[in-house]
Every structure is written in C-alpha cells, then in structure tokens.
Amino acid sequence: MSGKHLHRLMGLLFAIMVWSDSTPAWAEPLAIIVNTNNPVTTLQKTTVASMYRGEELHWSHGSRIKLVNREIGSPVRERFYEQILNAKADQQFFRPGTPVAVQSLIQRSDEAVIRFVAAIEGAIGYVNLASVNDKVKVVFILQEESD
C-alpha cells in the first residue's frame, strides 16, 4: 500500500471516528413506576398514555389512578410527553366536555416522584431508570431513544 493510500485510509478512519463521536447521544431509559402494593406488574405504553390523557381513571383492581408529573421544562417530562403521549411538554389534556385539565401532582425531582409513588398506593409516575430504588415498582421501561 503506498503512503498516499495509507494517508487516505487513515483520513477515512479519522472521519469515521469523528462522525461516530458526533452521532446523537442516547438518552437514559425512562421507568414508569407504581407503588409496591399495586398488584399491577406491567403496563403497555398505550395504557400509560391513556392514563395521562385522563381516559383511564381507575386501576384494574379498582382504586383511583393518581398521576404524578414533572414540572414543565424538565427534560424527563419532555421525553415522557414526546415519546409516550406524542405531545409537547406543556400540552394539557382535558376532561371531556369540560375545560378542566386532567389533574396530576407536580414533583420537581426523580427522588420526589419516587417518594410520592412509594407513599401513595394509587400513584403512577415516571423517572430516569437509574434513579429507581426498591421502594417503587417498575411497570414499563421506555427504552433508550436517540435525542
């Protein structure tokens, strides 16, 4: 292989390295969490969406679903709304026939969401998977998607 070809090959390899380094970062998976006393073990993405849109009001075992949300502007909320609800982070969902927004409790950190879900039986929330501890149960994991 001539020196010219070698230089070209090295240039190509360098370009590939630069390109691979500049591909979008992968976001951390999101975990949908519920109280450990909740008998539900798994949920589908559409069911979670249906809950946050206010279409599902009660768990299959009967108790009321209590939604926990992150504040507008939180990256976690942005990803949850975009990938689960197919909506912008500040979109509101309304109870049909009313201008009353579907009620959810705002918590301002993963830890606060986990504490609330751990304390309130009918609660459901979303956090970064890395933040999850044994005080809550994970019922759905939104796998990594590129930013």
């Binding site: 009321r64 309304f94 109870r95 026939g97 009313t98 009620q103 409790l105 304390a119 309130i120």
Partner: protein
C-alpha cells in the same frame, strides 16, 4: 550551635588536660546524644501517648457514635412519616376540589350595527366526593345578561371504564363543538353559524346519561354518551327559525316525553377523531312536533408528522328535521376550519416570546354555511361566512384573537362584514 563548635574544635585542645578533657567530652557527647534522641523520639512518645488516650476513650466514643446513629435513624423515620403524610395531604388537595373559571372579553365592529364590547365569566367547581363519585359545576355568571345560570352541574358515578352514570344539568352530547365550546380553547371569537342557530351551543339540559370508553385496539378507541333529557321546545326563533331559543333553559319539560340524544366517537392515536351524534324528541305537548337531528364532526390533529403537525383540520355538519312544523321545517349547517400553528424565531427575544416556553401564533381560516328551510313557502334563509383570523397564545390558557368576517346571507350577520377581537383566559 555552641556545642557543635565545641565538638569540632575539641581535637585542638592541649595534651595537658587530655584526661579531664576526655571525661568532659564524653559527658558532653552523652548529653548531646541524649538530647538528639529525645528530640527525635519525642513526637513518637507523644503519638503513643495520644493513642493510649484514644484507646482509653474508645468505648465511650463508640457508644456516642451508636447513639448518634440511632438518633439519625429516628430522624430519618420521622422525616419519612412526615413525607408520607405530606404526600397524602398533597394528593388529597390535588384530587378533592378544583376551583377555576374562564372568561372572555370581546369586541366587534360590523357595518349596520354599533361597535360593542361583550364579556363572559364562568366559574368552574369540580372535584371528587369519593374515588368513584365526582362532580362538576360550570356556572355562567350572566355577563352581559345579568342572570347567572348553571351551564353544567352534574355528578358522575364512575362504575367502569366502559360504563358510567351522569345526572344533573348535562352538556347535551350532540356535536363536538357543543362539548368543546369553551372560549379559551377556541381559535376564533365567533362561533360558527351551525353552532349557534342549528346546534344551539352552549346546550345544556336537565337529564341523565350513560357514558364510557371502549378500546378496540391500543390505538383505536371509541367513546359514547347517551342521554335522556327534557329536550328542545318549540320556541323557535321568530326571526331566523333557528333552534337557539328552543333550549329548555333548565325549566320543566314542556311535554311529557323525554328526548334521547347521543354521540359516538372513534379516535385513532389521539390524533384523528370522528364523531356521530343523533337526537330525537318531542318539542311540544300534543301537536306532534318531533325534532330529529344528526351531526357528524371531524377533528384531525396530526402529531409527530413533519410539516403536517403544525396543521389542524376540524369540521362539523348538522341537520334537524322538525315534523309537523312549517317554520322551520329543516335546519342544516356546516363549517370547516383549518388552523396553522407557527412561531417565527425572531420573536423569541421579544416580550411575546421570551418569558414563555411554547408561545404560538395560529392562522385560522373557516368557512360556514347554514340554511333554514320552511314548508310555508317563504323560502330558505341561508348564510355563508368566510373568516380569517390570527391569534397569539403565550400559554395554552390565554389567547388574544383577531378575525375578519365576510358574510353573505340573511340569518345572523346578514351581509355585513366586520372585525372581531377578543381575549380569553382559563384558570
């Protein structure tokens, strides 16, 4: 320093005093070594002494640490209990009662009539009496009429996702516009003619309904509501023949027969919705004036689809036939509306954009048509309307709307063109 000089110079001492000198030097050397040894070793002795003291205090310190650990654990437990209590209270507050409202102030200027401001304020009170029982009240404070009235005031018994019971002053499930008539949610100030003269929105009535949601597939759901209500009266508008004045005004039924009304929707991925509604009921006591109506509505909000996600398309078509009536005998109307949401980035650093997360402009185009027919041979009343509007929403619950209407007909605005503007808010 002195010793050192002496030590260096000791070999230079005279022989006559060697013995005594030796003895003296030996003593001095011993003293020096002792001093050096003590200087070097002293810290070690001190450390050793300290260690001895720690070893002596060890059991006490360990006890103290245990006590601290227990105290910290107790505090942690207390904090956890308090957090649980706080979370329960937060949960209770957030779910129990919601107090809110919405308002609008409108300005209109049309040829043939005086310019005017109008307003509206409605109070919303909603909440849960129980996990399975919720209530909702929407009280129109009566601006500008001066008489407050319940637009909605009902209680829901939530039985299951697919079947629930509602009773009270219900929003009549006929057409999408009636169920989503709220000023801050709409993009134009004026309602379509079909939503005023044909379907008399805001249309509430005393009665009871069953409603629910049926999921067909994960992405396709249906909703339904079937209500039994007092129903429309035969108090048709003397000028237009429209049904606006035929609403029961929450008074006792003017006939003994109840009206049945319902709406069924199909919703795909929460983006595309088609609704079908039907109505049938007597309008007076004995003269057989039965009103039959149907309505088809459509709303397309593509999301996550490049380019098209900025557009919304909505429309509604309604028809009523009134058996045994000559004025009117048939009412028909439709509207179709396109919304385009946009936000030029050069507004980002202005007062319109800077303080808000997702401010939006919406360009709106709407076409309206209505026709009210009689069997008396007096001909049809028709009206066509084109509206172009632009609104600004810094947040979803506050909107400034402007629009221009071009009218042609004889029902509402006749052939007067005009300008409308309004501000609406929801809290």
């Amino acid at each position: 320093m002195q010793c050192f000089n002496f030590h260096i110079g000791c070999r230079r001492h005279s022989k006559r005093s060697f013995t005594s000198s030796f003895a003296r030097h030996t003593r001095i050397h011993l003293m020096l070594w002792a001093f050096a040894f003590s200087t070097i070793m002293m810290p070690s002795w001190e450390v050793a002494a300290q260690e001895t003291r720690v070893e002596e205090a060890g059991p006490q310190a360990a006890n103290r640490e245990d006590a601290y650990a227990q105290e910290i654990q107790a505090l942690k437990d207390r904090v956890e209990v308090l957090e649980t209590q706080q979370n329960s209270i937060l949960d209770d507050i957030s779910q129990r009662v919601i107090l809110g409202g919405y308002g609008a102030v409108e300005f209109e200027s049309f040829g043939g009539s005086k310019t005017s401001f109008e307003g509206k304020l409605e109070v919303l009170i909603a909440g849960q009496i129980h996990d399975r029982i919720r209530f909702y009240n929407e009280i129109d404070l009566g601006i500008p009429e001066g008489e407050a009235q319940a637009e909605q005031a009902y209680v829901d018994l939530l039985i299951a996702k697919w079947i629930n019971l509602r009773a009270g002053v219900v929003l009549v499930p006929f057409g999408k516009f009636n169920l989503d008539h709220f000023d801050p949610r709409r993009d134009l100030t004026d309602r379509p003619i079909v939503a005023r003269q044909i379907v008399p929105t805001t249309w509430g009535d005393l009665g009871a309904s069953l409603f629910g949601l049926i999921p067909w597939t994960p992405n396709l759901i249906s909703t339904y509501e079937v209500a039994v209500i007092n129903g429309l009266t035969d108090d048709f508008s003397s000028t237009t023949g429209g049904l606006r004045d035929a609403r029961s005004s929450l008074s006792r039924d003017n006939n003994g027969q109840k009206s049945v009304v319902g709406r069924l929707t199909f919703k795909l991925a929460d983006q595309y919705e088609v609704g079908v509604s039907g109505y049938r009921g007597a309008s007076s006591d004995n003269d057989g004036k039965t009103i039959t109506g149907f309505d088809v509505d459509l709303e397309l909000k593509p999301r996550g689809v490049p380019f098209w996600e900025d557009f919304e398309l909505k429309g509604e078509l309604a028809n009523f036939d009134i058996q045994g009536s000559s004025t009117p005998s048939r009412l028909f109307g439709l509207y179709t509306q396109v919304n385009y949401h946009f936000w030029p980035s050069f507004f980002d650093h202005t007062f319109l954009g800077e303080p808000y997360t997702h401010p939006t402009f919406t360009l709106v185009g709407r076409y309206d048509h209505a026709r009210i027919a009689t069997r008396a041979g007096t001909g049809n009343l028709t009206e066509d309307r084109f509206t172009v509007g632009l609104n600004y929403r810094p947040i979803e619950n506050y909107v400034i709307k402007t629009e221009y209407q071009i009218n042609n007909g004889g029902i509402e605005r006749k052939s007067w063109n005009g300008f409308l503007a309004s501000i609406a808010w929801l809290f």
